[in-house]
Amino acid sequence: MSDLVADKVNMVFNTKGGGTVHALKDVSFTLKEGELLSVLGPSGCGKTTLLNIIAGFNRPTGGAFYLGDEEISGPGLNRGMVFQQGALFEWLTVAENVNFGLRMKGSDKKETAKKVEEWLDIVGLQGFGNTPTYQLSGGMQQRVALARCLINDPDLILMDEPLGALDALTREKMQTLVLKIWKETGKTIMIITHSVEEALLLGERLFVMAPRPGRLHKEYKLPFAEQGLTIDPREIKNSQQFIETREEILTMIWDMEEEIMGGTSNAA
């Protein structure tokens, strides 16, 4: 429905000691509709802050984000978020979690139930509608989180290290699921991740961010996500091009970290 435009976004936090932390400095980019973006970077480079501002939980101290033509000023149903720990409501069942957004809106009950069934099917949790959430494993909880976010048909999907807490096997399955959803819904998806492999696989575009101050360091355009739609991700991960790109980016990040660690004094 719309492009995400970042216009010289700045975010400065005040620390307890009286100092400031420049979490984001002059971040500008345009994310076209339907693109799959992954954001990579060492700790403290401002990835989560970026996502929080896009989601509307924080206001930037300078600059602004625009979705379509509207400035982002608060949370909304058009930007769905999937959290690292799921942030599910453990007092509700799976179905109640998934239809939460629709219930808050007051949608028709029958419609809602149908949609819940649909989405549980897509994420692979058919039949789990009445299970209390706290009885699910980590992977299943993340799938519920995905369903909960996607059922509301948001324009922009934000994911904050969604697969970080999962084991390797589940992680691979979930990566395939994300790609599948991207293919089937064609939505704009922005994923933050720690893992270089995941960033490469789940990104048409890849932003590498650097800390202190947080900024966009480098941008890549990658073919692996497209490939992932048709080819088995494991094969992609073993391909030559993938390994080379991975080495390149890893080295870059290490150099960047050394620069920063060696150059500036350890303030924290």
Binding site: G80, G101, M104, P132
Partner: protein, 628 residues
């Protein structure tokens, strides 16, 4: 008998539980490491063992077990106590219980006082002649004392009387050892057997002898009583000693105090002479005997003791083992339990009292413990619906018309409804001490939750609310609720309102803090998630923060119930006309230990029921706690 059987059953339960527990540990697959909480699951056999142990201790130390197995023991021990009581006046003169012979003790005391007097004389203000005279008087007192201890100076008649006492005691001992004593059967036996049994009423132990052994001791005590009285009349007043005493008296009464040297000195001198008179009065008591002369009585008493103990036989062991921690004393007309048997009422007595009081026709002070009465529905509504609701109805109250008829309109009808003035059917409404107490706690709790939870949530979410209300709540919270009680009594009077308000205050602070903790403890990611799912602020409070705070709120309720329960009883003790605390208070004033213990147990059990109910509710409402 029931108690006896119960006692044995409980002991078997405890041993059984221990054996079962040991077998369980041996046969259990023990790969659960120490610290694993699932290892502490189950364990019903230990609950059984614990409860049984408590009951065993209670039954034993309250003498209920003793009474069940040896029902006549107390009555017999009472008779033995009678013998001891009548023998006391003589026994106390000899080193049987005390360390010193009475004569020795008296001599020590009197010599000591004379010494003190002498040293005072040395420092007192007398002229030399007077001083010499007084000194000699004091010397004379000393020698009079030592004369009383001199066997040569004792009147042979006194010695004879002492020996006679010894003989009588020895005869009594022989009688006690004799199986056929007393020869005649107990004339009062029939009446004695009609006495209420041990514990049947509040007169405790039946004082009249009900067994032959008891009767023997009872008769012996009568004889002993006579002997004691005669012994008390014996005085060591032989001729020589009496003469010495009289001479001494003459000397000090005729001593003239020199009053020429001023008031103060005169007063001092008078005081000293008065001291001499005091000591004299003690000396002429006549209770000091030469120690060899009283030896026979002493021996006789020891003999009596031995005989008496061996005659008691198993009764002594029953006293030591089955009636622990106390004794049975005999007064002039009644026998009483002393020690733990006194202040620890027996379980069977407590149960009987409870059953008696639970009968709605009996109750306590005319009000049953827990019952119901039929009241018109209107009265119930009258309490629940406030009167001012009628004022809100638009319109005016009716007036009378020209013919004096009172018209009615809707507003009037609402008013009548709110004040309960209409015909209605009867419904059963609970009443009684227990209900009143419960109702007060529940009412206080209800208002505390109603007002406390929203405020607490508000304080957790709003800077203004937190800053504004925090000082007020934190200031009044640490104050013990009872400190407010006098104030509340003055404002509300002794009706229920005041107590409910007090409980409300207690519950309110707890609920505010619980709700606040719950609100601030909600994970930010959940709130963000709800936000990005399109929930409004109000929806977030209702659908995210409130369910998330349920664990803290329910725990708060559980705590509040406990504290309210404790405060309630104390508040009822302060002022009130009904309620369990009131019952206990009145029972305390009347020293009715059984009722006191009954109320204590009742309070404990009711409190436990509350807690178990809350645990159940918590388990059902928040199953996700601690998981996931």
């Amino acid at each position: 008998m029931i108690v006896g059987i119960l006692f044995i059953v409980l002991i078997c339960l405890v041993t059984g539980a221990i054996l079962y527990g040991r077998r369980l540990v041996r046969t259990e697959v023990t790969d659960a490491v120490f610290g694993n909480p699932t290892r502490a699951l189950g364990g019903w056999h230990w609950i059984v063992a614990g409860v049984s142990s408590i009951l065993i201790v209670w039954i034993y130390f309250s003498w209920d077990a003793g009474r069940a197995f040896f029902p006549t023991a107390a009555n017999e021990l009472c008779q033995v106590a009678k013998l001891n009581r009548t023998a006391n006046p003589i026994r106390s003169a000899f080193p049987l219980e005390d360390r010193l012979l009475r004569g020795t003790a008296l001599l020590e005391r009197d010599y000591g006082q004379i010494d003190v007097l002498e040293s005072r004389l040395a420092n007192a203000n007398f002229n030399d002649t007077d001083r010499a005279e007084l000194k000699s008087i004091i010397e004379e007192m000393r020698s009079t004392l030592s004369a009383q201890a001199n066997p040569a100076l004792m009147d042979p008649e006194t010695a004879g009387r002492l020996d006679e006492i010894a003989t009588r005691i020895n005869m009594l001992a022989d009688n006690i050892a004799d199986d056929n004593y007393p020869a005649e059967p107990d004339p009062n036996r029939a009446e004695a057997l009609k006495q209420p049994a041990w514990g049947a009423t509040s007169t405790e132990i039946p004082p009249m002898a009900m067994t032959d052994l008891g009767y023997k001791f009872s008769k012996a005590s009568e004889v002993m009583d006579a002997i004691s009285k005669d012994f008390s009349k014996i005085r060591n007043n032989g001729e020589t000693i009496t003469a010495k005493l009289e001479a001494l008296k003459v000397r000090y009464t005729s001593f003239e105090i020199d009053e020429t040297e001023g008031e103060e000195i005169t007063a001092q001198r008078k005081e000293l002479v008065k001291q001499i008179e005091k000591i004299y009065r003690r000396i002429d008591d006549g209770k000091i005997f030469p120690s060899a002369m009283t030896q026979s009585v002493e021996t006789a008493l020891i003999n009596l003791d031995d005989v008496q103990k061996s005659e008691q036989g198993t009764l002594r062991y029953i006293d030591i083992f089955a009636l622990p921690g106390g004794d049975i004393l005999a007064g002039n007309r009644a026998c009483s339990e002393q020690g733990s048997g006194r202040w620890l009422p027996k379980p069977s007595d407590t149960l009987n009292t409870f059953i008696r009081m639970a009968d709605p026709d009996v109750g306590y002070k005319g009000i049953p413990l827990l019952w119901y009465e039929m009241r018109p529905v209107g009265q119930v509504f009258e309490i629940l619906i406030p009167d001012w609701i009628a004022d809100l109805v638009p319109g005016e109250y009716p007036r009378h018309d020209d013919e004096g008829t009172v018209l009615t309109n809707f507003k009037n009808k609402v008013y009548n409804f709110a004040t309960g003035k209409y015909e209605s059917m009867l419904i059963p409404v609970p009443m009684g001490h227990i209900w009143d107490s419960l109702m007060r706690v529940l009412a206080g709790l209800f208002f505390g939750i109603l007002l406390g939870v929203p405020l607490g949530l508000y304080m957790g979410l709003s800077r203004f609310a937190k800053g504004f209300f925090d000082p007020l709540i934190e200031l009044y919270r640490p104050i013990p609720p009872l400190a407010w009680a006098p104030l509340i009594l003055t404002i509300f009077g002794i009706q229920d309102d005041g107590k409910i308000f007090l409980l409300f205050m207690v519950a309110f602070a707890i609920m505010v803090i619980s709700a606040r903790t719950g609100a601030t403890g909600t994970q930010l990611s959940k709130i963000h998630a709800a936000h990005s799912l399109g929930a409004s602020k109000f929806q977030i409070i209702r659908k995210v923060i409130l369910p998330n705070s349920l664990p803290e709120i329910l725990t708060g309720i559980r705590i509040a119930i406990g504290v309210c329960w404790g405060t309630l009883v104390a508040a009822e003790m302060l002022a009130g006309t009904t309620g369990i605390g009131f019952v206990e208070n009145v029972a305390r004033k009347q020293s009715d230990y059984e009722i006191i213990w009954m109320t204590i147990l009742l309070l404990g059990i009711l409190g436990l029921m509350f807690d178990l109910m809350m645990r159940f509710i918590i388990h059902r409402t928040i199953p996700w706690r601690g998981k996931g």
